[in-house]
């Protein structure tokens, strides 16, 4: 059974090549048409959306995975603040209309929106906010990202519409972390063990139905406290296979297809029935070195491998993307173009290897989850060969990768998509599977967290981004691009970072 699926996918790929639907995708960004006035919209409409990864459970408190954030954040659950993905992830109000910070940076005061309530009708007050944050900072917290809130000392509610968060030390990451799932406001007393089937959020949608293995339906909460969504229902269809997803979109079974394989976009090119939206992602395809193990303990080897890989070749094989040169995507304020560090130079790579004691090259093994296109590994094999490195590709199931590479650090080279936004912290944990341990980087990161101003924080994180690239902590093959195909007559579709959150509040359908 485990052998059948890869075989099936290969066959699909073969058929696609045979049909000639592959090829260079059309460049350019389609702009969405402006949403028409409400009287021209079908507010009773159901929108069908193709997503890829189904959540394993709906318990967003205790289960990891972006698949949960993608459908539940903003739509079903809300935090004090959220982000605007159309404005470079700017932090914007959600349940808090405004907030201020004390001059010493240790006290955050949030003013709650009026009239907010949970799906069960009960009012959302500061007591719920306090309780929710206390669940995050409790010593035995089962929350997935509880470590994000380690700087919180106390949370109090001076009155029903105000929340005060006192910190042990400055934390310039606090607001961002509150925009993520750790900031969700639950109703006081929520039993997280039963959260899977009993969501009670404050967002514009409720979970209406979950057909495990195929779809999740969200329905508009008719009693929502804020501006009502413009559609009655949204059905998320989980279709892993790219070709099946394309067919579903082409035949009208879905209205919105997210995460389209860029090499298959030509099926929609020049078709007036569809718009193709190109958006940003935080998908950093990271080639990790086992930094605690020879030969990667020698920086020259790491630099040689980075210089041997032509990122443009990888991007072409993937079908779209951007070379970034470090772990920071352009939408982060501390981004800078670092593609000049270890730029493509196979001759120098060969020389570096020779100086490092490998004049005749070396043989390495790449452990890669089989979910990624084999074309990427193929490019790595041929690129590295130019520099004298023989690369053996070992595709494994993602779960095997988690155990072997992530937990046991049993690998030489690994390729995985680090999809989480703002995850520079991974480069500050010596025990992380990269095995990258640099005191300076750890200090800068800690200082950035303590920074008094955003400018100060951004400058420090910029240094971190540069340093990890100069140290060749890992290599960054490409930053993914989000391709979304939208049926004509559907408006307000999220375009950026759609695999992290898919805010439905603006989606609308023409009558």
């Amino acid at each position: 059974m485990r052998r059948l699926l890869p075989a099936a996918l290969t066959a699909v790929a073969l058929l696609l090549t045979a049909c000639g639907t592959g090829g260079t995708p059309q460049a350019g960004t389609a702009v969405q048409a402006a949403t028409p006035p409400d009287d021209q919209l079908d507010t009773a409409a159901t929108v069908d959306v193709r997503l890829v990864l189904e959540p394993t459970s709906l318990n967003i408190f205790g289960t990891s995975g972006a698949a949960l954030d993608q459908i539940l954040l903003d739509n079903v659950y809300q935090g004090l603040v959220t982000i605007d993905t159309n404005a470079n992830d700017k932090i914007v109000p959600a349940l808090a209309t405004s907030w201020e910070t004390s001059p010493d940076g240790l006290t955050y005061t949030f003013h709650l929106v009026r009239g907010a309530k949970f799906h069960d009708g009960s009012p959302l007050t500061s007591a719920d906010v306090v309780w929710s944050l206390q669940q995050q900072i409790a010593p035995d917290s089962k929350a997935v990202y509880s470590a994000n809130f380690a700087t919180i000392d106390t949370v109090t509610a001076p009155d029903p519409a105000t929340v005060q968060v006192r910190l042990k030390q400055r934390d310039s990451f606090l607001l961002w972390n509150l925009t993520q799932r750790g900031g969700i406001v639950y109703k006081q007393g929520t039993d997280f063990a039963t959260l899977d089937g009993a969501e009670n959020g404050s967002g514009p949608f409720t979970v209406a139905q979950w057909n495990r293995g195929s779809s999740i339906t969200l329905a508009r909460d008719e009693n929502y406290w804020g501006a009502k969504p413009k559609v009655a229902k949204v059905v998320f269809h989980y279709i892993t296979e790219q070709n099946a997803a394309n067919n579903a979109q082409l035949t009208g079974q879905t209205d919105i297809q997210t995460a389209v394989d860029p090499t298959l976009l030509s099926a929609f090119a020049g078709n007036s029935g569809f718009a193709v939206l190109k958006g940003t992602t935080t998908d950093k395809f990271t080639l990790a070195f086992n930094g605690t193990q020879a030969p990667f303990t020698d920086p020259a080897v790491r630099h040689a491998i980075r210089q041997a890989i032509n990122k443009q070749d990888v991007i072409r094989a993937y079908g779209a993307g951007l070379a970034i040169g470090s772990a920071v995507p352009p939408q982060d304020p501390w981004y800078e173009d670092l593609t000049g560090i270890d730029a493509y130079n196979p001759d120098n790579a060969r020389k570096l290897l020779a100086d490092a004691g490998f004049p005749n090259g070396l043989s390495l093994t790449l452990t890669v989850p089989s979910i990624y296109p084999a074309a990427i590994s193929d490019v790595l094999v041929s690129n590295l060969k130019q520099a004298g490195i023989t690369l053996t590709v070992q595709p494994v199931e993602f779960q095997t990768w988690l155990t072997k590479v992530f937990q046991q650090h049993d690998f030489q080279l690994s390729l995985v998509d680090h999809a989480e936004p703002r995850d520079l912290a991974n480069y500050t944990k010596p025990g992380y599977y990269f095995g990258y341990d640099d005191k300076q980087v750890q200090d800068w990161y800690a200082q950035a967290r303590l920074a008094a101003t955003d400018a100060e924080r951004d400058a420090l994180l910029k240094r971190v981004g540069r340093q990890i690239s100069e140290d060749a902590a890992t290599d960054w093959l490409l930053l993914g691009q989000a391709s979304t195909v939208v049926r004509t007559g559907v408006y307000g579709v999220p375009q950026n970072e759609t695999s992290n959150r898919f805010n439905l509040s603006t989606v609308a359908v023409a009558k």
Binding site: A8, T56, T403, Q407
Partner: protein
């Protein structure tokens, strides 16, 4: 007959026990566990250990197996470690898709194989018989997956007659839509299975055609067709029923591929997902249920044999 049934039933029970142990042990050979699925790539080793302990994964394998088996004996196939859903309840829900899928595929297979196979046997010297045999040979060579993709390309994408994938959100509450979404999977699975069956039907009928009793029947004045219908089919049915029973097992595997291609929320898709998530308590319940079903069908096929062909009873 009673002795035969008892002996077979005893064998069935022993086989089921062995199967339960095999399923349990083989799944434990997979790297990774459900705790990693829950924790993901942000969890620290301490968090993972806590999740593991919470799920009882730190207990010995013997204890875990004993727990599970006593549950199964009481009819409780366990619960998902990821989200607490009951295995039996979800299996029942998925069977609403998979059972009709398999039944329809068998119907298509039989509808194709019996008349064409018989015809190919009767005309085995002519071009029609040869042509049908050649087609069947091609049918066996073509993977169900490829056929499925071609069917989608023609009937969904180009002609727009049938849905390309999926099952109605409300399932059989929309019977028309549910049937529509099963038509292409039925054909894809049924034709490939039918091609295999056709060859068995052909050779079974051929064997019957040259038998003495059919010659006798014709000597008594029956036409070939009437002799075949009255005396031949019952005899030809014995090996064909066995093959159908065996094919049911391969059909279960075939549904995994077909359900993935058409994204049908059936048992096959569920198994692939659960194995991927290492939700092993759920997987072992599901696999064991499927294995038990196949074994029970084998048991039933044996009994049917005895009834269809009384000679087997006298032999013992």
């Amino acid at each position: 007959m009673t002795l035969f049934v008892l002996r077979r039933a005893g064998l069935l029970v022993v086989s089921l026990l062995v199967a339960s142990l095999l399923v349990f042990v083989l799944l434990r050979l997979l790297p990774g566990d459900v705790a990693a699925t829950i924790g993901g790539i942000q969890a620290s080793p301490e968090q993972l250990a806590a999740i593991r302990a919470g799920l009882g994964l730190d207990r010995s394998l013997a204890v875990q197996y004993g727990d599970w088996l006593t549950g199964v004996l009481r009819g409780d196939f366990g619960r998902s470690q990821l989200n607490g859903t009951s295995v039996s309840a979800e299996l029942a829900a998925k069977l609403e898709v998979t059972a009709p899928l398999i039944a329809g595929a068998i119907a298509v297979a039989v509808a194709v194989a019996v008349p064409l196979g018989t015809w190919a046997a009767v005309r085995h010297r002519g071009w029609a018989g040869g042509g049908i045999s050649a087609l069947a040979q091609i049918g066996i060579a073509v993977p169900a997956l490829w056929l499925a993709l071609v069917l989608v390309l023609v009937f969904s994408v180009t002609l727009g007659w049938l849905p390309a994938q999926g099952f109605p959100v409300d399932g059989w509450a929309e019977p028309g839509a549910a049937l529509e979404s099963l038509v292409l999977p039925w054909i894809a699975l049924g034709l490939t299975e039918g091609a295999v069956l056709l060859r068995f039907v052909r050779s079974a009928v051929l064997g019957v055609l040259h038998s003495d009793y059919l010659r006798t029947a014709r000597a008594k004045g029956l036409t070939r067709t009437r002799a075949l219908l009255r005396h031949g089919f019952r005899n030809a049915a014995v090996p064909v029923v066995s093959v159908l029973g065996l094919q049911l097992a391969t059909l279960v595997v075939g549904t995994i591929v077909i359900e993935r291609v058409f994204t049908l929320p059936g048992v096959g898709s569920m198994l692939v997902t659960d194995v991927g998530n290492r939700d092993l308590v759920k997987v072992q319940g599901e696999v064991f249920a499927v294995v038990a079903a196949v074994m029970l069908i084998g048991f039933a096929v044996d009994l049917v044999h005895r009834i269809v062909d009384p000679r087997l009873q006298e032999a013992r």
